[in-house]
Subunit: 419 residues, 2 copies
Amino acid sequence: MMVKQSIQKWMEENKEEGVAFLQKLVQYGSVQGKEKGAQEFVAEKLKKIGMEVDKWIPGEDLVNHPYFCSPRTDFSESPNVVGIWKGKGGGRSIVLNGHIDVVPPGNPNDWKEDPFSGLVQDGKVYGRGVTDMKGGNTSLLLAIQCLKDLGIELKGDVLFHSVIEEESGGAGTLAAVLRGYTADAAIIPEPTNMKIFPKQQGSMWFRVTVNGQSAHGGTRYEGVSAIEKSMIVLQAIQELEKDRNEKIDDPLYSSIPIPVPINVGKISGGDWPSSVCDTVTIEGRMGVSPEEKMEEAQMELQQKLENLQDEWLQKHPVSLEWFGARWHPGNIDPDHELMHMLQQNFESVTGEKPVVEASPWGTDGGLLTQAGDTPSIVFGPGVTGMAHYSNEYIEIDKVFEAAQILALTILDWCEGGEL
Amino acid sequence: MMVKQSIQKWMEENKEEGVAFLQKLVQYGSVQGKEKGAQEFVAEKLKKIGMEVDKWIPGEDLVNHPYFCSPRTDFSESPNVVGIWKGKGGGRSIVLNGHIDVVPPGNPNDWKEDPFSGLVQDGKVYGRGVTDMKGGNTSLLLAIQCLKDLGIELKGDVLFHSVIEEESGGAGTLAAVLRGYTADAAIIPEPTNMKIFPKQQGSMWFRVTVNGQSAHGGTRYEGVSAIEKSMIVLQAIQELEKDRNEKIDDPLYSSIPIPVPINVGKISGGDWPSSVCDTVTIEGRMGVSPEEKMEEAQMELQQKLENLQDEWLQKHPVSLEWFGARWHPGNIDPDHELMHMLQQNFESVTGEKPVVEASPWGTDGGLLTQAGDTPSIVFGPGVTGMAHYSNEYIEIDKVFEAAQILALTILDWCEGGEL
């Protein structure tokens, strides 16, 4: 029997067990600070599959790293887990990376079922994190388990990352990189709707403070409204976004209206309707193109804000801070051999040509590329539009389809040969 | 001796007592809900002067009145006080109106002394509320006491209002009006820098809610930013302000850059930097011209916001609420006899021509005019720029100068004749 058929058969035979695993994984509601149960469950699974397991609490080397970015420094209840399958030697290694943390479920009333039910219905599994990205993680584990069960030996190493903190800046992946778990390339099954993303937008958060001068609203001409001045700032940000995006001619972005958006998500100013507002704070997210360094993008915003065409703002410059979350852009050569293998296997399993695009959001692929020198592809079974929304679900068939594609690709890349 | 000289002499002889009274009045820190002590002190003073005193707790008739506007409905610790000096009959009556409530002192660290010290230094009295408007109230009481002490009998009635709630919408003056304490005309010694204001701008607070549509910041083109849409709203408000003010050609406004400003004092929207903001709230104060009805001004803003030139906003109209504070505009004919008397007496006492202007802020004069049919003039010894600021003070000489002008004007209006 051809390996492809063997893999397909294995997937069919292990469907029930795979779905049960995903269900259970969702039921561990592993929001930030509560990843321990889910990680222990994953570690257990890795051992059963026959992988070597490293489970550790990220420590000081992480916190002091320049790429470290997290709202917390204490990870004592949040272990990182890596599964290791050593190859025979002489082959290419691969990182298979998935995050275990899920974003908070939001208002439970927006959910039809308990957000952590793991309900199976009409070929779907429901629950917070199922698409982002426990479904993808399950595809990875199924792929590895399948290859193991089929008795395949690989030349190259397979490293499975089950990382914390992706949703708040990637400290878990950074910790894995710092512990030496890098490879020749990586695949991250974030929810891409089965599209293949060789490039991922980076992003970082900024805060602009605009100062005016207080006065009574009845004599508002005696003051300077920070709200009026912030309109100038918002307009400048819109201009900068336009300029930055006009420069992008990569065909991978051709179907994306704004490849690297600058999103102003929050505005806040003033404390009294009849006073002239003297301070406005604007918070947003700046997209960073895959070809760009974070610092270059920061400099562009900085310069735009230093050159606002307004007399008051020239004399009272706005302040710019970079705070909170940060995702480095990721970039793998679209002609990279792993790209070809993945596309080929996609076509072989699905019978269709894959869509290759640039991703509008960052993943831990940026950190793997930039801190770990591990070029990364993002490809996964979840639906982007489901991520972070209520009633999040994933289609079970997609999880297993992705698992087959991934198994074949690991086999090709790490040189398992035929059965 | 001419009455003018007698009044001047009386003021000199009673300077010490007058300053002590003002000091004490300031020391009763009569912020909202804590007016009782100060009101009892005023009532005591009125009795000593020889006035009849009405002290009462405003009740249900007030709260149910269409002009009622206050953040509270319980006034059990906040009595209103009116002093009555009945005339002999056949003369014009006058309301002398001053509010007892003071705005909160803000951060005590911004004050050199305790905000309620009542410190006397270099010819000034310091403390929260001394300029807005306990200094003015003291001028009124000195004027009345002086006329009484000089044995003057008036034809018309004098009604002294010591009212609560001016700073939050005028419920105290409305209560006095509803209890029947209206007159042929009124003077309100709010801090005008000794200018005479026959017209006062009204104002009211509004809240505009702008709706967008949420999305992830990385694909912000899938949402609609309420922050971007609120820029259109802010611009429309600026246009409306311009149009409204271009229509005002009253010479009383000739030196005022924006006679009836629309001040946007607060803006707030969004809860996450990397999400598209789906709701922005804008709060502001709309100035109402003395010739205008509140409802007319409301309609203008309503119509402007209904006709925003934006497809999204046409389909998702912004909402407009009128909330919180409200001050009706006030308007007395600049050729009213009381205006002439006040100007003449100002010139006689100070040797200078008074400045006659329109006021950029509302006072209880609007309510007296519109609810009490009592045309009102605002004229007082405090400095506008001091009101609501830390280290608020008033010049003692101005208090006594205003008292003389007021005493002469009461004499003229209520027909006291010569001594």
